[in-house]
């Protein structure tokens, strides 16, 4: 059974009063849940959060399912999102994503065998001038080639495991 840490619960309490309506706090609170639930929001955590916020679970679920930044499936430690929209596509974004798929031997949305990497294709991430690019967890990595992208991810894996 998922439960937020006491710090997380305090955060939820604070967010509930931060905005004019309680409902506005759903997005920030879902971020918090995702952070504490290994990067994804499980159905049971939605139930839990709805109870904690005293809102209908359908409302929380609606928000969860609407936005792409909430993961509804477990993901790897590094969530690699490769932009495949128009400017990146023209500069090799899709080839980059395909290369990464091959390199880590996973399809989009899957977790690699060691549990480290999930690759997905994202829509425009607002970095068109430095295409192709990818976002790994919170950070942007721009002006990539397939080789530099793999190097970046591998070095991040090493860093993460140390």
């Amino acid at each position: 059974m998922f439960k937020l840490s006491s710090e997380g619960e305090a955060f939820v309490k604070k967010e509930l009063t931060r905005y004019e309506t309680k409902r506005s706090a759903i997005i920030p609170c879902l971020y918090k849940v995702q952070e504490e639930n290994d990067g994804w929001v499980s159905p049971e955590s939605v139930e839990y959060l709805a109870k904690l916020m005293d809102l209908p679970s359908a409302w929380v679920n609606e928000v969860l399912k609407f936005y792409t930044m909430f993961n509804q499936k477990p993901i790897g430690k590094l969530h690699v999102q490769v932009c495949c929209n128009i400017s990146c596509a023209m500069n090799g974004g899709r080839e980059l994503a395909n290369h990464l798929n091959k390199e880590f031997n996973i399809k989009d949305g899957e977790i690699s065998a060691d549990g480290n990497v999930t690759i997905s294709r994202a829509e425009c991430l607002g970095s068109c001038g430095t295409a192709p690019m990818m976002q790994v967890n919170d950070n942007y990595y721009e002006d990539l080639t397939p080789a530099t992208a793999v190097d970046t991810i591998k070095s991040l894996i090493v860093k993460g495991s140390v």
Partner: protein
């Protein structure tokens, strides 16, 4: 009061009304799925397009305020084209399962298609697949593939029932309506979502697959489930009644009714009814027709009642019409009987109300009974009647039993207690399983008509409402008025009803049968 012109005809509407309401007022055809007069405006189906003179382009009628001097049409070529394509957009991902869809025959998409469509589909790509036959609790089944995402049901649970179980999840053409984690949709008004669903996405488990709607006729009546008296439509055919849906009445129930009220057609069906009068003479039960039984009662009992009027009691329940009360009380008063009792098993919750429709008093006409009795000697409690029977103060008792016995938990025990009287006459619509154990040596069980089979008025909590005969289910049953007439030794005057045959819809299959 703005006046506007719609398709060339002038119409006056209320201040603040939308153009679509003006269309409805004129009975002018306008396509729409998401707009519902009892809900907020969503404006998402984009079918109620109109041309307004002087506007930039086509507008949706549901979100356009009617203004003085507006000239509106939905008959232009452009609008027809838009509606045709609007249909297309609705249909491209809609499954072709009309044959197994319960909504077929009263489906918004079918109606639109027959009016505006009748062309071959242009989409030859695979359709988006969604979940089918999702179980949403005891009452409702969801088919999200058929859903056209008009959001009516979601708005209903948000705005009317305020239970907020439903939501639309995901986005784009992956959107699916549903409850979180398929929790049951079990609020007291949940079946209204089935009514307002323009397609077969939400279907009622009770009605599902039992009949095709084109086999059913329908008629308006007043619900007798509680003292609110919602206006309802009952659907029936020669096999009996099949469902009840709400009918609009601004003063009483708006567009809605409760789920409990939808079940009350069941006791009126033949399998739940007392079909023949029954008589127990101390040794065996005999069956006879109701009229015969009443005539027999007249011969055997009428004079007896007159002479021993102080030892006669009459028990009423709040489930008969005002007219029947008046006739019955008048009859007994003329015989000198003054002991009238009220039997109401929900008496302690009479004033309960959930602020929408459901009331604690589960009798439709308690007020009518009390008002009528006030003209005579008033009503005593049922306990007094039982005590009087036990002590022998009363030896002849007439019981006007309820027809909706689900709200009478002490039905059986009351029967047994009252049957201790020497002469025991029970008027009731329900079948009498377990009634063999009578304590009286002279018991009559007289079959009564249910509210479906008679005309009359109910004095509900909100209004006094007249309702009409719908159909006959038990041929020999009587109304209380008829029973009283026969009891007095008179004859019933029959009026022949010529009721026009009404089918639910003039459906394509039957009307074009000869052309196949």
């Amino acid at each position: 009061m703005p006046k506007l012109t719609i398709n060339g005809t002038e119409v006056e509407v209320k201040e603040g009304a939308t153009v679509i309401e003006a269309f409805k007022k004129m009975n002018e055809d306008i396509a729409h799925y998401c707009w519902h007069p009892g809900l907020s405006i969503a404006g998402v189906c984009r079918l109620c397009m109109i041309d307004v003179e002087g506007a930039r382009g086509p507008q949706i009628a549901c979100n356009t305020l009617a203004k003085e001097g507006m000239v509106v049409t939905n008959q232009s070529e452009q609008i027809k084209d838009i509606v045709k394509w609007g249909m297309d957009f609705h249909l491209i991902n809609h499954p072709l399962d009309c044959p197994i869809c319960d909504q077929a025959g009263e489906c918004g998409l079918q109606e639109q298609y027959m009016k505006f469509g009748q062309y071959d589909p242009e989409m030859d790509q695979p359709k988006v697949k969604k979940r089918k036959v999702v179980d949403l609790g005891e009452k409702i089944v969801l088919d999200s593939e058929r859903c056209i995402l008009c959001s009516r049901c979601v708005r209903f649970t948000d705005e009317v029932s305020k239970t907020k179980e439903l939501g639309i999840f995901n986005r784009g053409d992956r959107s699916e309506v549903g409850t979180f984690a398929d929790k049951p949709l079990n609020n007291k008004y949940s079946l209204n979502t089935v009514d307002i669903c323009p397609v077969g996405a939400l279907t009622s488990k009770d009605f599902r697959f039992r009949q095709r709607v084109w086999y059913l006729k329908n008629d308006d009546t007043v619900c007798n489930g509680c003292s609110t008296g919602c206006n309802v439509k009952v659907y029936y055919n020669e096999d009996g009644l099949f469902r009840v849906t709400p009918e609009y009445n601004e003063d009483v129930n708006g567009y809605w009714m409760c789920d409990e009220g939808r079940d009350i057609y069941k006791f009126a069906n033949k399998d739940q009814r007392l079909l023949k009068a029954k008589k127990y003479d101390g040794s065996s039960w005999q069956e006879q027709t109701a009229g015969k039984a009443m005539q027999e009662l007249h011969h055997n009992l009428f004079d007896d009642v007159k002479t021993n009027c102080s030892k006669v009691g009459v028990v009423f329940t709040g489930q008969y019409t005002n007219e029947e009360y008046a006739d019955a009380m008048q009859t007994f008063k003329s015989l000198g009987v003054a002991s009238f009792f009220e039997w109401n098993d929900t008496a302690e919750n009479v004033n309960d109300f959930d602020d929408l429709l459901i009331r604690g008093d589960k009798n439709p006409n308690t007020k009518g009974l009390q008002d009528e009795a006030a003209n005579h000697s008033g009503l005593k409690k049922l306990a007094d009647a039982i005590a009087a029977v036990n002590s022998g103060q009363i030896d002849t008792i007439f019981v006007m039993a309820p027809e909706n016995i689900a709200v009478y938990p002490n039905y059986q025990s009351t029967y047994e207690a009252l049957s201790k009287a020497k002469n025991f006459i029970w008027f009731g619509a329900n079948k009498t399983d377990g009634f063999e154990k009578t304590n009286s040596q002279n018991t009559y069980l007289i079959p009564m008509k249910s509210y479906i089979e008679k005309s009359g008025t109910f004095s509900g909590a909100k209004a006094i409402q007249k309702f009409n005969y719908v159909t006959t289910i038990v041929a020999g049953a009587l109304t209380l008025s008829e029973a009283m007439t026969l009891f007095q030794g008179k004859e019933i005057e029959f009026e022949l009803r010529s009721k026009p045959m009404k089918t639910l819809k003039n459906n394509h299959f039957t009307s074009n049968r000869g052309k196949l």
